[in-house]
Amino acid sequence: MSEKNLAQYADHPKFKELVGKRVALSYLLSVIVIVSFSSWVLVMSFAPELLALPLWEGAATNIGIVCILVLLSAGIIIPGIYTWWANTRLDRLKEEFLKEIQNEK
């Protein structure tokens, strides 16, 4: 497929739907990641006492430790969600798009 042919699909409704969905999910998850990481860094810098609060009276484990565990786990779960969703839903949409343009030829 030559470059010229490809350009025409940029306005194809199916293509737009495909990209729109991917971008929407990407933005949502990116915002979650950036906001949570940044908040943690900011709290660490400007209000570290908050992270030092113990989980319960007299505990050595504190909120800060829990934050680390949550952030590390999120780093696994979020890509997992995206990959699963993209490999099932998105790729299906993409196949439909490819079939459509084949038929239109």
């Binding site: 497929m1 470059e3 010229k4 490809l6 350009a7 699909y9 940029a10 293509f15 495909l18 990209v19 991917r22 990407s26 998850l29 990116s30 990641v33 950036i34 949570s36 990481f37 940044s38 943690w40 860094v41 900011l42 660490m44 810098s45 570290p48 006492e49 992270l51 030092a52 505990a59 050595a60 484990t61 504190n62 800060g64 430790i65 680390i68 565990l69 952030l71 590390l72 786990s73 999120a74 780093g75 696994i76 979020i78 890509p79 997992g80 995206y82 990959t83 993209a86 490999n87 790729d91 993409k94 798009f97 490819l98």
Partner: protein, 555 residues
């Protein structure tokens, strides 16, 4: 005084990927050569022999350019994921991070969390589009619709700068580490690392490099799990009891589990966060891994596998670091008469290994630590060789007229040259404080490679002129500001006060690179610019759907 030390340790850490440089920095003062450790040397020989065997196997299967740079594109998602994680599960993560947690507590985990935050972003913003657009290097992607020569040259300069600086850090750290672990002289250590690396990469290309990473990552995970679970068992899987013991034993008391407050002004905070979130996106040897899989779908899965492994390992590190306080701190076996740790601070994780599994475990983890050095250095060298042979020679100087065999031959010469350079750099910087070279690598990656890559993939109006001037600006500004920063002016050159007061230029150089690229693109009204803008749509469709990507060979 204590704050200064903490500051220096953390500074080294958060300066980015090549955490081994941290090992080099803090090893300067108290390097204690271990006696020749026979178990470790035996295991290390086993490892070297098997990886040389793999290289031989890989060499027979590496015939074309595609094989050499990207293993024919037939690496599976799982293999690639493990290989990618291997770049981040470095010796310095295992040794350095555990040590930082043990001595300074909570703040030691900052880099781990930063890495786990940046990978989802890489997945969403880069992985798929890169795979769909590129062939062998990220520079292929950048020059997709822009005028090839100028773009390739500036991107190559950014790429090679990052690699060279990264390599200095790795070399010095590697030499010192081997000296520490095996009792081998620094010079021989550096020479040996480079000779082995030349063998792997020039004969086996990306295939050998990938498999060396995979094996090392698997061994590291197994060893780390053994130690980590051993620690948990020691505390009956009671986390509270583990932290309570740490708090009770450690001189810092409750402060050990709380943030240390090392980042106080907003500019440093933002700069650190920016460097961490975006710096990794510009590292050429990481980006190159996305081209080794068949398609975007496999690229996504690779990232997921990689993050799963990295996340798991970082959690292990957390437990090993804090748990070790309860186990090692008052243990006379690991401290000398003066109360200092045997072998220096970096030996902590190995002491825990020894505690859990005796000399065998110690030998095993030492050999694995050495393996991680080799693996990362190999990846870096291949990325640099690809840039020199493919982007500079084949595509720019020789205008695409090189045959596959000629190009591979140039790659091999480059690899040899880089190996020699590595030895020279290792010798030259042996006694220097190399912490600052890592800053350069990360900052350049964030200020040159990242903006050019992002803009070329996502912004229709980017023109060659904008990209080249923007990239050059990023390169010059970041390098200059680093030269004027505390780490260089005060740390390396010995001035009293630095001209540029912040550790990271990123906050200034990265936005500046974007801004300059923007200004010079929108004011570009040439014919060439119009063509480039018109070509965006085709690139856009291909980047999202993968129509037209080259077929992959199978492995």
């Amino acid at each position: 005084m204590k704050n200064n030390r903490l500051f220096k340790i953390l500074l080294a850490f958060f300066l980015g990927g090549s955490q081994i440089a941290w090992a080099a920095g803090s090893l300067e003062g108290n390097i204690e050569k271990q006696p020749l450790n026979m178990t470790a040397i035996m295991m290390f020989c086993v490892f070297v022999l098997s990886t040389l065997g793999i290289t031989y196997w890989a060499a027979k299967r590496t015939k074309s350019r595609q094989d050499f740079y990207t293993a024919g594109g037939g690496i599976t998602a799982a293999q690639n994921g493990i290989a990618i994680s291997g770049d981040f599960l470095s010796a310095a993560t295992f040794l350095g991070m555990t040590s930082a947690i043990y001595f300074s507590g909570y703040d030691g985990m900052l880099l781990a969390v930063g890495v786990m935050a940046c990978w989802p972003l890489i997945l969403f913003l880069i992985a798929e589009r890169l795979r769909n657009l590129g062939r062998y290097t990220f520079i292929d992607v950048v020059s997709f619709r822009l005028a090839r020569k100028p773009i390739r040259i500036i991107s190559a300069m950014g790429s090679l700068s990052v690699v060279v600086f990264y390599l200095i850090g790795q070399m010095v750290g590697a030499g010192k580490l081997i000296e520490l672990l095996f009792g081998l002289d620094y010079l021989y250590a550096v020479i040996m690392v480079n000779i082995l690396m030349i063998c792997y990469v020039s004969f086996g290309g990306m295939l050998a490099t990938t498999w060396v990473q995979i094996i090392k990552a698997v061994l590291l995970i197994l060893g780390g799990s053994f130690i980590g679970i051993g620690v948990l068992v020691h505390f009956d899987f009671n986390l509270e009891s583990m932290f309570r013991t740490a708090v009770d034993v450690h001189p810092m008391g409750m402060d050990i589990v709380a943030p240390g407050g090392w980042l106080k002004d907003p500019i440093s905070v933002i700069s650190v966060a920016l460097t961490m979130l975006f710096g990794f996106m510009g590292l050429p040897h990481i980006l190159m891994r996305f081209f080794t899989v068949k398609n975007a779908r496999e690229a996504r899965k690779s990232v997921f596998y990689a993050t799963a492994i990295m996340g798991y390992f970082y959690i292990l590190i957390l437990f090993i670091g804090f748990g070790a306080i309860g186990i090692i701190y008052n243990n006379p076996e690991y401290h000398d008469a003066a109360g200092a740790m045997v072998g220096g601070k970096n030996m902590l994780a190995l002491h825990v290994a020894h505690y859990m599994g005796g000399d065998i475990m110690l030998g095993f983890m030492s050999a694995v630590t050495f393996a991680t050095i080799l693996a990362v250095v190999s990846g870096l060298t291949l990325a640099a060789a690809a840039t020199i042979a493919h982007d500079l020679f084949a595509k720019t100087f020789c205008e695409g007229k090189l045959t596959s065999r000629q190009e591979i031959r140039i790659s091999r010469y480059s690899i040899f040259g880089i190996g020699v350079l590595g030895i020279l750099l290792g010798i030259a910087f042996e006694h220097q404080n190399v912490v600052f070279v890592v800053t350069i690598a990360m900052a350049v990656a964030a200020s040159v490679n990242f903006p050019i890559l992002m803009l070329s993939m996502y912004w229709k109006k980017l023109t060659t002129r904008g990209a080249v001037i923007g990239g050059t600006t990023g390169l010059i500004v970041s390098l200059t500001l680093i030269m004027l920063s505390p780490s260089v002016m005060v740390g390396a050159m010995g001035f009293d006060k630095p001209i540029f007061p912040y550790l990271y230029p990123t906050l200034f150089s990265m936005p500046l690179a974007f801004f300059v690229s923007w200004i010079f693109s929108v004011t570009d009204n040439s014919e060439q610019a119009k063509r480039e803008i018109a070509a965006f749509d085709a690139q856009y469709v291909r980047s999202e759907t993968g129509i037209g990507i080259a077929d992959a060979a199978d492995h």
